[in-house]
Symmetry: D2
Subunit: 366 residues, 4 copies
């Protein structure tokens, strides 16, 4: 069972609620001997941290990570900490738990939120800031992802926001260097400029908007993944769909592939110079039959607009009474933005897991 | 690990290759006491069976299922077989293993196929008809799905082909009754008429085309699924993505949700008459926070065009030599068609599993 | 995979080393709505806590548990915390990490310890106090067990030490009330008196001694467990064997059953007054075919003598040099004593897990 | 979940009832490229087959195994079949399903059997020959074990019966060559002679008797297993306890270790000549801290006497009425005998699984 765990050999179990004492994760199965310092994890967390621009929630959380176990160093390792092969527990204490009045949320079902479904499932819920259903949980994933990257050192994983609301980027403008130059993780400088004014407008309207994120992994060796229910694309789809507010996932051409004819879709091959085929296209997004082909793995996913908005909406409360609801508080007008580092982390965790699984079955030929 | 198993409490393990002795599955965790006859499974298999129209592969397989274990009946059950709670093994013998010449496939990597990636992973493969990577494996899923439906008797699961190549149906014409009236499982009679001539053209060109399938489950109680990695939508995404040739999955509005504003996307609620909220929309596709809301669950997925085509394509062989390749044989010009009953089966299996998982955690309140 | 996780629906993942920052666990799958306060967990931890008599290690650890997630209460619950159905993370900070000189342990392989095997597996280890292999990890299990007990409220679980070194108790003297009256968790007052002088002698010799523990669960309904690899006895055997230093596990008559004839071993039945059979014996230890019979579940296990002793032993170091080794420090002369509350916790976790699994498959009839 | 599956990377799922159509298993995760013919599996099955002497059940089953999937060979492999890395399904059809009158069993709860507990769990059962609870299921394990041995070619696994009823062998007489010379798998020729007359007496009395089996794996590299819940000994304990009628499991000295002092129990080490320590004893049975030490792994387990006996016993039936019961039919007077090849198979499967798990985490250094 895996309610709060994902992965098989590289396993991540997360815990924690938005306004609880702390959140974190236990990473089990990490190979031994990898150098790992809290600062490295922190660097990834800082990319996802709230309050870094006016376009993300103004909650002030330092998101300071603490390694509780699983690493060790002494004078023989030059003081550096190495993973020991035992579970690595990471904890992030919640500090900005503003003692606000939750009376409205606690009794009401916010449209688009998990309030009603949690009550339907559990009969009871921690309503403070969304409790377990808050996107705050993704901090733990980003922390785990920082470890996963060390398990697959030759693989480069990068994500970018490629659409905000109805506005897609111009792919001809794609420049990875731009991703760090704007608060949207957008690789198209022109689109980023547009998003700034567009999102300001959305924000001032008390509204919100969705987004599309693309994650690309380069340097993935062929052979990761497995038929039939350990398919790399199936695991990636589940991983991305498990991120808050995600409603769709594509690999390679995705839905566009449905409209193609066979001769246009099937990536042709020529002899490569490393003993592998050289693919003449990558409609497949780097995965054939659930197994990596050596081409870049390309995953795209859609994030719905943040459900917490200032526009009044019709709803009901726990007592079944009809109400009108406005969700105040500090919210992301486009929650898709902060999903970018989360997507990288999920990609890293899935690939680390499949790397270990593949190595288990076939050995270091993997 | 789950290379060939899916589900947790309702678990399905499949086996078999396209041209091996037999294929089948073991269904573990099925509740006891459910009436189950081979004929009921056969009825589902017959919907997926090849060779039923000129639009699917002309391979002639009776796909006759045999129940090897897990059911029992005697005079006290009126001769009816009931599930016993122990594993139900199902077997389908392969009969039409035409002794063709595989010399071309065995040495060549067909573009768009898993030939190269299987070799990259395993160093060796059963190349006959695609071996384990053949869509023939989905017969085992359909068989398992027939059992899953019995675990969740109040839930209606139906799927339909809603796009072939670039041609989407007109949703205003949607009529479930039409699905059985054409060889495409298409709910729009007009579109079906178009598909007939369109696909004939594709077939005559020696080409193939993709499709989009939609699966809908009605009558799902609220509460199925679980945060964070047992999300119903994440499991459904993995289930659909594990079907051969699938490249994208959406829940509810899917990618279209990215373009919406918050007030348009969040499904409002009013007081319902069964003690549950009545939702005024279903942009969410019946799932909020990974948990079912009681609204219909709506999943859509894209199938790429069949990679086996008569048009010559550039490729390489196992020796790394460049070749031109034509894939002869009996192929589906639109493999998406036969994915329709498979999608229903996967939906049924995922829901049966989550029903049992939910009941485990909260009891029959589930 | 389950390197640091056990259970399926009631899942416990532990983390932490003997001298790391903290240890703890994440309990996943706990049903919602159960009242749970840290004090209740603490009460169980205090039974296992070191330094409570001269017969256990003199390490001074308060073993103060902190609940990090998974519970919630407000004025409507009368301020009481209830489980929410989401993962419950528990943390115990290490405080008495005496900054001792580990140079001897770090280079040497202590006979009977996991020093060599950890190095053989991981090439690297946290040697401080045994690191992950220390029995200190069992504190996390005891904490998890306190939660498990709440999942199965009608079941009484008690354990006792029934043999120390070669000295077995007299079963005719068994009195559960005595277990709390001596530092050995011994149900036989006379044996406890003997153990006191016996263990003093062992301790003064700088030696150590083994023990046998018996755990009994009463009030277990029939039906828990499952053929074939979800057998209740198989899971209990793994659970007990996973406790540090355990070398044998028995159910019911255990090894003595091998010497019996069929007619003496098979527990006869008469009509009971609750619609269930009344068993005339319990050679089976409450489990038949891997499934509970309703009779008390009886498990016994053997703990080897503590390997850390003051008597010099021959060994080798990491460099492969031969050495003589004395293990100084604060050790339990009979580590079996503190295994008593651990055994209860493991029994509780296994039964809670099987209760949920059974309920999943057959519903509240469970 | 793992009701009918064991292992993680080398996974075995079994199915089938005593008198159903067929039984078998699916072996998932087997590495590719291993030569595997049905004859090799058959050879192992033949060692376990019933009806080979008057000391085992007279049921006549050829136990002919058929490989349904997961292997492939062509002219390039010299016609030899190799594993492909995909699931290997094995089937054994039941042939000797004597159409006997089951009316007695179907209504009665045989003491010592799982009849009552299956009914308590499932409310319904296949009573023919014990259904799923029959030791016949172990044929599937033996078949899987034959494959597992190929995954760990350097490891020698042998088992022997070391006690029948109260009569233990004389270990000074231990000769592996004798195991094949008597119908008891007994390594002590003198004891075997005794067992012959002893068991004849038991059989003529219409009684039965228990046994103790010892399994030894030699050539196991250090490093297999893992803290804390992936311990090699914990998995072995579960594996052996899952065999029908097993009531106790020991590793190394087992229960005798409880009576030892620390200095006598901890195996000392000297410098070895292969870069590993040379252990001066093996009280630990080859496992320290849950990880293999490189010494032979020694597991012993107790089998209770066969519950099916001709001596009348008191019982109740499904209707709750009190009855006297005699179990006629073809039974093993000492079911422990046929557990010997089963134990070897379970040892092989557990070691194969841990070999792959270890290799996954640390690579071919494993």
């Amino acid at each position: 069972m895996s309610h709060n765990t994902f992965g098989h050999l590289f396993r991540v179990t997360t815990f924690g609620e938005s306004h609880g004492v702390a959140l974190g994760c236990v990473v089990d199965g990490c190979p031994p001997g990898l150098a790992l310092e809290a600062e490295e994890i922190q660097a990834e967390l800082d990319r996802r941290k709230p309050g870094q621009s006016r376009f993300t929630t103004q909650r002030r959380e330092p998101d300071q990570v603490k390694i509780l176990s699983g690493v060790f160093g002494d004078d023989r390792t030059g003081g550096r900490q190495l993973t020991t092969g035992t579970p690595i527990a990471l904890m992030i204490e919640n500090t900005d738990q503003r003692s606000k009045d939750y009376s409205e949320i606690r009794d009401s079902y916010r449209p688009g939120h998990a309030d009603y479904t949690y009550d339907a499932k559990y009969g009871f819920r921690d309503y403070r800031g969304g409790g377990r259903s808050s996107a705050r949980e993704t901090a733990a994933r980003v922390a785990a992802g920082a470890i996963a990257r060390k398990v697959i050192p030759g693989i480069t994983i990068r994500a970018a926001l490629v659409q905000m609301g109805p506005h897609a980027i111009d792919r001809a403008n794609w420049d990875w260097a731009e991703v760090g130059n704007n608060p949207f993780f957008c690789p198209d400088a022109k689109a980023a400029a547009l998003y700034e004014s567009y999102l300001d407008g959305i924000r001032k309207d008390g509204s919100s908007v969705g987004a599309v994120i693309e994650v690309i992994a380069e340097g993935v060796p062929p052979g990761l993944g497995a038929p039939i229910y350990g398919k790399l694309d199936a695991d990636l789809a589940a991983a991305m769909m498990s991120i808050n507010a995600v409603k769709g996932v594509e690999i390679g051409d995705g839905f566009a592939a449905a409209a193609l004819r066979g001769e246009d879709n099937a990536d042709e091959m020529r002899a490569g110079n490393n003993g592998r085929p050289r693919f003449l296209g990558n409609h497949a997004g780097g995965i054939l039959g659930g197994i990596s082909s050596g081409e870049p793995i390309v995953v795209r996913f859609a994030v719905k607009p943040t459900s917490s908005i200032l526009t009044p909406r019709q709803s009901v409360n726990r007592q079944g009474e009809e109400i009108d609801l406005v969700t105040k508080g500090r919210h992301d007008p486009c929650v898709g933005i902060r999903a970018v580092p989360v997507a990288e982390a999920m990609m890293a965790c899935v690939l680390a897991d499949h790397h270990l699984r593949h190595r288990g079955q076939v050995g270091d030929r993997a």
